[in-house]
């Protein structure tokens, strides 16, 4: 068993079960708005995807009862949350905390992959491009959310607050000097 695996918190199963009945269309809309906000603040992220900027990705938090389908759509991203496997050219699966830690630069993608905390299927090149582009963007998901206003802001704030409080997943980018 790898060392990294032991340190990655899992989403509490009881809460995950509760999420099975959460209606998904509002979540999809919120995440689409959220991703567009990120695209606007970090145009380099989608530029860095290069030839994969229209490749459909499936992000599969294995401890949640749904998957997130991300279509970069040339920098005007669309996000759909679906139950089941979802469809895409490349799939990245792992605990929610690993996926988010990857985004925040708290984990190294290769290390997570070698330890099999992350599993990549389909177009490995596309998954790699997404990983590299996200790593360069130095995203702070909580900060991005804090800057969202309008009708969708409220449900998103709720989700983030709830997740952070109940799961121990750090949704704010750690100070890089202390990330390890």
């Amino acid at each position: 068993m790898s060392q990294t695996q032991a340190t990655i918190p899992l989403f509490p199963p009881i809460l995950a079960r509760a999420l099975r009945v959460v209606p998904l269309p509002p979540l999809s809309l919120s995440l689409t708005a959220y991703s567009r906000k990120i695209a606007k603040n970090h145009p380099g992220l989608f530029r860095r995807l290069g030839e994969f900027d229209h490749t459909p990705f499936v992000l599969d938090p294995t401890d949640l009862p749904f998957v997130i389908c991300l279509d970069p759509n040339g920098g005007v991203p669309r996000v759909t949350v679906v139950r089941g496997k979802g469809e895409g050219a490349a799939r990245i699966s792992g605990p929610l905390a690993a996926l988010i830690g990857l985004v925040h630069g708290a984990y190294d993608g290769d290390a997570l992959f070698f330890s099999r905390d992350l599993v990549v299927e389909g177009d490995t090149g596309a998954a790699l491009a997404l990983r590299n582009a996200v790593d360069d963007a130095e995203l702070d998901l909580a900060q991005e959310i804090a800057s969202i206003t309008g009708p969708l802001a409220r449900p998103l704030h709720h989700i983030i607050e709830f997740t952070q409080r109940r799961t121990g997943v750090c949704l704010t980018r750690p100070d890089e000097a202390e990330a390890w």
Binding site: L49, G105, A106, L128, A129, N132, D135, E138, A177
Partner: protein, 327 residues
């Protein structure tokens, strides 16, 4: 003098992370086939390079630009422009492998410092001195086929600075002399800047067992919870005669942390970390460790204990060719 830590940056964010973590020198490449880590989503456009170099210089770090693939016949202009742009972006040196490109750089950009890439596989003092004489090469990155005593012997016979790999991925083949990847996938380190490219990798998970294929060849099969190495050809699992296993190299990565004092005694100038494809957090972590190690050495303190195992492939480490028994 403190040994120089030369550290990889695949993205501007990694470059900044490396500088902040204490790297003396960063190496990186343009976002095209001119560099040997031409991976999707990696590397620097011209503006990013200029800004990255300015950032590094403002923190008294240096930047080397790797232009270390072999220019394609008929398209040498792409590589020539990369050399010219490296100079105008303010690079402290370029890292080159191709004799034709070295000749071009020496004739047309004489004031741009030239390092010899590991891709040139210059493995003895005769050829290193020849590169110095003909192309005025100031530093050579030694191929990962040499033992510490051999490195020491080379340094005794040359004025050219030597740089050696101390951490990260490990080529078992002489670098720049390998076309295993293009044989199986059509894409090679020398021509395309990629080895065992992700675009040709397929994983299949079946009841927890994971098969890894490269170009349709199954070269790994691991059980549930076993580490899953990337299917790099030379580290694949193969069969020959009655033996099945990692016939060329185990899925290990290089860690010569504990050999730093010996490498210093051997006359090595700079310690190189592999991994332009790794994340900024990886880069920062590795740099911090190695910076602490060389600072300790300089202060006469013992080497700090290694903390880097979990960052490596399959969580296994080797000192590679530095110890002669590796051969």
């Amino acid at each position: 003098m403190v040994m120089e830590i030369v550290c990889p940056a695949g993205t501007p964010a990694s470059l900044r992370a490396a500088v902040k973590a204490g790297a003396h020198t960063i190496y990186c490449g343009f976002n095209d086939e001119t560099n040997a880590r031409n991976f999707p989503g990696l590397n620097f456009d011209r503006t990013e390079m200029r800004e990255g170099i300015a950032f590094a210089h403002s923190h008294v770090s240096k930047v080397l630009i790797a232009i270390n693939t072999f220019p394609r016949a008929g398209d040498e202009g792409v590589w020539h422009r990369a050399v010219a742009d490296a100079e105008s972006c303010g690079a402290d040196a370029v890292i080159l492998a191709d004799p034709g490109l070295l000749d071009y750089a020496a004739c047309n950009h004489p004031h741009l410092r030239r390092h010899l890439s590991v891709q040139a596989a210059a493995a003895n003092a005769d050829i290193i001195n020849y590169y110095a004489k003909v192309f005025d090469v100031k530093r050579v990155v030694l191929p990962r086929v040499l033992s510490v005593p051999e490195i020491s012997a080379i340094n005794a016979e040359t004025e050219v600075e030597t740089e050696v790999f101390v951490f990260g991925g490990l080529c078992v083949m002489a670098e720049g002399r390998c076309s295993l990847s293009s044989y199986a996938t059509g894409l090679s380190p020398n021509m395309n800047g990629v080895c065992s490219p992700a675009s040709h990798v397929e994983y299949h998970e079946d009841n927890g067992a994971l098969d890894a294929r490269l170009g349709g060849y199954t070269i790994h099969r691991v059980g549930q919870n076993e580490p899953a190495p990337y299917p790099t050809l030379c580290k694949g699992c193969f069969g020959a005669k009655d033996t099945t296993g990692h016939l060329f190299e185990d899925p290990v990565s290089l860690n010569a942390e504990q050999l730093i004092p010996q490498l210093q005694k051997a006359g090595v100038t700079a310690l190189k970390i592999e991994g332009r494809q790794r994340s900024r957090s990886y880069v920062a972590q590795v740099v911090r460790n190695f910076r602490a190690a060389v600072d300790a050495l300089e202060a006469g303190q013992p080497m700090p204990e290694g903390m880097l195992a979990r960052l490596s492939e399959g969580q296994a480490m080797t000192t590679g060719a530095y110890k002669k028994t590796w051969r």
